[in-house]
């Protein structure tokens, strides 16, 4: 089962529990629009290359559609559709007034120059500018895209439609970006960890975390958990991993990553592999790298009692079942990593109002949203005796469903 099928599986599971009926299930799960574009650009050496891009707009009943844009050689339409629907449920869980979308371009950005990436990005906007926009569909950074790519999108879109900073979020701070946006997903995850630990009656101080992925989500999550008294016993990234049962010296690790570009070779612990990290002795496991890394077999060997999904769909449904049997608490992606889209919403709001919030305000509003969402999901989970993930989908289907019914079809 791939990550798109996993999302559909979780959606269907919740929809069946709510007994919404097959035709309403179809109405809610089918995307509004799927666009496939061919992007022809000239490479620096004069070669002409054509890349395939996708934008899937899943649902707009709760507002303009929102979702990342990724550059990856293995992007495909089905995966993008799954991620677009995940965004619909995620924006509903945190109750920001957005629908869901996702985009991707089949390209290996490590093989491209900056100029080539710029031409590719601008071409993508040329092909899509009439279906995106501040009140239609608002892209954001995702795998292998960053604030610079967002700046190009804003600039190219503005050429067609006039000054439009709100067409895209995750922009550089100097160009209508929001303070606190970069660390937002990690910070949201911190709030969720605090709430979960409080619920299970465990103090943050001394709780042992293993974090897979040391990028935009994992590095900020690890840093903030460490600053809050958590003990980080293992981290890994694409280069490799490092573990230390006594806890890693995070400031030294950041210095090492800054110098060498990766976690690998850090002297403050012993090396550990990507998969090994998932099964190290710890209290909370934070898979914050890629989707689908935890299947039933890995789940059997996971020693953590709590899994907080920093990445999208790191746990496959079979793994979820194993965790349920083992009594491992899984905090689902659509809650755990929703801090990013929440602050993206704040960025959009600031852009529309031509104001700039200070970081304290962004962080405080984010904490409020994450706490409220966790509380709502917790109360559905307790009253209906459902796992957190199913409760989160029930809440999301409820919110999207109500908007759909009120609007009419």
């Amino acid at each position: 089962m791939n990550t798109a099928e996993a999302t559909q599986h979780y959606f269907t599971k919740a929809a069946r529990i709510m007994n919404v009926g097959e035709r309403i299930e179809n109405l809610l799960s089918a995307p509004l629009r799927e666009v496939k574009v061919q992007l022809a650009i000239e490479l620096d050496n004069g070669e002409v290359r054509t890349f395939t891009g996708f934008r899937v707009q899943h649902d707009n009943s709760r507002g303009p559609m929102k979702g990342g844009l990724r550059y990856h050689p293995e992007v495909n339409g089905e995966e993008v559709l799954g991620l677009a629907s995940l965004m619909t449920w995620k924006t509903a869980v945190v109750n920001v007034p957005f629908g869901g979308a996702k985009g991707g371009v089949q390209v290996d950005p490590t093989q491209m120059s900056l100029k080539e990436l710029e031409r590719l990005t601008r071409k993508f906007v040329d092909q899509l500018h009439d279906v995106i926009g501040p009140t239609r569909d608002i892209p954001a950074p995702d795998v292998n895209t960053n604030p610079q790519v967002m700046a190009w999108i804003m600039d190219q879109y503005s050429k067609y439609h006039g000054h439009s900073p709100a067409v895209v979020t995750g922009k550089p701070l100097e160009l209508y970006g929001s303070r606190g946006r970069e660390a937002a997903t990690g910070r949201g995850l911190l709030t969720v960890c605090r709430e979960v630990l409080r619920d299970v009656g465990r103090p943050m101080k001394g709780t042992r975390f293993a974090v897979q992925g040391f990028g935009n989500v994992g590095s900020h999550a690890a840093r903030l958990l460490f600053a809050d008294g958590g003990v980080i016993v293992a981290v890994s990234d694409v280069s490799g991993g490092v573990q230390n049962p006594q806890g890693l010296d995070l400031p030294a690790l950041f210095e090492h990553v800054r110098k060498t570009g990766g976690v690998k070779g850090f002297g403050g612990g012993t090396p550990c592999g990507q998969e090994e990290l998932l099964t190290v002795d710890c209290d909370v496991l934070v898979p914050a790298a890629l989707g689908g890394v935890i299947d039933a077999k890995v789940a059997q060997s996971v020693r953590a009692k709590i899994v907080v999904e920093g990445a999208n769909s790191p746990c496959l449904p079979q793994a979820d079942e194993v965790f349920e049997k083992k009594g491992v608490l899984v905090v689902p992606d659509i809650l755990a990593n929703a801090g990013g889209v929440t602050v993206s919403y704040f960025e959009w709001v600031q852009n529309l109002q031509h104001v700039s919030w200070d970081e304290e305000r962004v962080n405080a509003e984010l904490e409020k949203v994450m706490k409220e969402s966790y509380e709502r999901i917790g109360s559905i989970s307790r009253s209906r005796q459902l796992p957190l993930r199913t409760a989160a989908y029930v809440l999301a289907i409820g919110r999207v469903g109500k908007a759909t019914v009120l609007r009419g079809i």
Binding site: M18, R23, S383, K402, V405
Partner: protein, 168 residues
């Protein structure tokens, strides 16, 4: 019973307490009592007289009818709300599946408040009437269906009713 902040919060989140001010919810807590049930204990049996409403505060219960399990419910669930309106027989049996902590509001005490024109009790009655009217609409549809008359499909409206019953 003494009003506690968490208790107030739990009660005010219930659909039957919709529209009640904090002070009015506190009045409801005043006539409520906290009770416990051991694992396996029967809270009330089918066709017995309904003398109280229960709110599950902690633990899990099972609702069954003629021996068949209908649902498992947990924290925040309300059981036997119609008995507050008086004269109702229990339509199902409720058994504790684990050690349970419950809030009990007796019909007698509630009816006394109602007789004294207490606004909180009136608002709860109004909310319960809305729940009943929704349920009646469903039963009416089923009745029409059972009479062999096919009803025009209203799938979107039906979906809306499902969402109302889940009370988000």
């Amino acid at each position: 019973m003494a009003t506690s902040a968490p208790m107030l919060k739990k009660l005010s989140a219930l659909p039957m307490c919709q529209g009640l001010s904090a002070a009015q919810t506190a009045e409801l807590v005043e006539i409520a009592e906290e009770t416990t049930a051991k694992k396996g204990a029967t809270l009330f049996a089918e066709e017995s007289a309904g003398d109280a409403l229960y709110v599950v505060l902690e633990g899990q219960v099972e609702v069954s009818k003629r021996g068949a399990s209908l649902a498992k419910l947990g924290e925040g669930s309300v059981l036997g709300e119609m008995s507050l309106l008086g004269g109702e027989m229990r339509s199902a049996t409720v058994t504790a599946l684990s050690e349970c902590k419950l809030l009990r509001i007796s019909t007698e005490r509630f009816q006394k408040r109602l007789a004294a024109d207490n606004l909180a009790a009136l608002k709860v009655t109004h909310n319960l009437a809305q729940v009943m009217s929704r349920r009646l609409a469903v039963i009416n549809d089923k009745l029409v269906e059972s009479l062999g008359k096919t009803k025009k499909k209203e799938e979107l409206a039906d979906f809306g009713r499902i969402l109302n019953n889940w009370s988000f």
